[in-house]
Assembly symmetry: C2
Homo-oligomer: 302 residues x 2
DNA sequence: GAATTTAATCGGTTATAACGATGAAAAACC
DNA sequence: GGTTTTTCATCGTTATAACCGATTAAATTC
């Protein structure tokens, strides 16, 4: 049986890498500086090579040291996952759960989601984080969120992906806007009459592809930062936009002189939930899915 | 800082799982039975749940125990990789290297590959394993081979994949076989005139797709188990087959009344090398690639 | 040149991992 | 039905390692 580095040694190494300082790293690990120093030396001994160059006043990781740090981080994460696994096995859906949600979903369901979890999982401390798909995927990988709720299709093959509901698109316009009425192929809409969100939002891409809109001249170059800005533009300019059913069900058009109708039967975005394949709380997430599926299905119902 | 299970505890757990017996597992770990027993108890303590049900005469892993074992195996593998990483950093391409190779490559290059490694990497102890693509991918995942050499395209996204050379296909036939001469579209060959290997061999699929052969009636239902059987069929029956350049360069047609000509410019298979993304010897493998690339390029040269 | 910073070293203590012997419980043997 | 065997848990002990605090050494700063 090989003499492998220990979990503790790897933890200490990560601490040194994080703080770039033995003293502060030791403090963070609640051990003495001497203990940390010898622990790193032992690790270097078992690995048979130098990981850190101790210079005059500062330390520097060697190339091989950096590589070891990267792998150590993964090992520690996996080990933490094992603990989470057993913990969540005993007490399902307890403790803190951090969910990342994209803006074009969060604003319409956040409040009800809190309520749902409070009643279904009273021991769960829910933390919601709103960000773009790209940022959420990044945070998911780094462990800053436990699961992410976003709109698909999206490049999510790194993570386990599960579809919760279909959210159909609707064409939305002022009730007096005649130019769009009865149009089947949206590419035939008047020039600059289609208003969309700015590019960061996946809703823009989804609306374009789901409604078979080629990037034609019918799209207005203005890029709105929020759905409400978008709506006010559409209301004033007498153009059209495409909104998911979820937004309409949440009452975004209430008391406005706007009308909407189903874009096409096949025009929809999927609402999906993602988690790290190596997560220790997969059991928790599946239980959560059981409740989220009817929840989102209702939120997106015509 | 959390109290995580230690590497040793996980190693011991794996040993118990492997032997399904405390005493024999302890022996395999070179520790006493009592030590192992308490180590497992400590592990169960830190994880907060039972992993093994100790019954009268036999032990049984709980469901959660099996899950922990699976994750522990990965953690241990990753930790071993860290050691290998540092070791191969100090002494590149030393020690044992196990290469898996598919039959339709191995038989033509194995001897020369041994010779190449013996001269370029004298400290390397080369072990070659010949098996089908499917089996090699399985062995690669389990760590039974360090790298795999196979023909692409193949579903290899689980692993790091690197293409070494293109191996063109040639149509091969008896020199007196007139029916195939001057034919551009291979689908127009006479019925049952194309002989191929049995389905397990990826060469069959590659020949079909690279030469744009739809599974038409020109393909003979006979499935040969080796290229030599295949050739004897073609020689006797006066039909055709498709052989990679590598086979021809190795002299498979020497002293035979056979002729060959390039199938098409675009008809080729790629020779690729694969390794686990988490392997600790990636540096080694890249050095190996530097030598393998010219080696295979020459082996496949027209 | 004194003060400061920083990691290594040293001596001593505590905690952990290891051993061997024994114990308990169930099954197998006779 | 009692004895032996098998097998894991427990106990007391010892060796190893992990850890602490104080000190040292080297370099930088003032």
């Amino acid at each position: 049986m090989k003499n492998l580095p220990s979990i503790k040694q790897l933890q200490y190494l990560l601490a040194v890498h994080q703080h770039q300082h033995f003293g502060r790293a030791a403090e963070a690990c609640f051990i003495g500086q001497s203990t940390l120093s010898s622990a790193i030396q032992n690790l270097e001994e078992t690995l048979g090579c130098q990981l850190i160059e101790r210079e005059n006043r500062s330390i520097m990781f060697t190339a091989i040291g950096e590589e070891v740090v990267e792998r150590a981080r993964k090992i520690i994460d996996d080990t933490i996952s094992v603990k989470e696994l057993t913990k969540s096995f005993l007490n399902p859906l307890q403790g803190q759960l951090t969910i990342g949600i994209i803006p074009t979903v969060a604003s319409f369901i956040a409040a009800d989601l809190y309520h749902l979890c409070a009643t279904e999982f009273p021991d769960l401390e829910l933390v919601l984080i709103e960000d773009t798909s790209d940022n959420l995927l990044d945070k998911l990988e780094k462990g800053q969120v436990d699961v992410a709720l976003l709109a698909l299709p999206y490049n999510t093959k790194k993570f386990h992906t599960h579809i919760l509901a279909q959210d159909p698109f609707n064409m939305v316009m002022h009730k007096d806007y005649e130019a769009a009425k009865g149009i089947a192929d949206f590419n035939l809409l008047p020039p600059s009459s289609v208003f969309l969100l700015e590019r960061e939002h996946c809703l823009t891409d989804h609306a374009l592809s789901a409604c078979h809109l080629s990037k034609s001249e019918c799209i207005n170059p203005f890029e709105a930062a929020s759905l409400h800005t978008l709506l006010s533009m559409v209301e004033r300019q007498l153009g059209v936009t495409f909104l998911p059913q979820m937004a309409i069900n949440a009452g975004i058009l209430a008391h406005k002189p706007m009308v909407f109708n189903a874009a096409q039967d096949t025009a929809y975005r999927d609402i999906g939930i993602l988690w790290r394949k190596t997560s220790g709380r997969i059991r928790d997430f599946r239980l959560l899915c059981d409740k989220l599926k009817p929840f989102f299905t209702e939120k997106c119902a015509r």
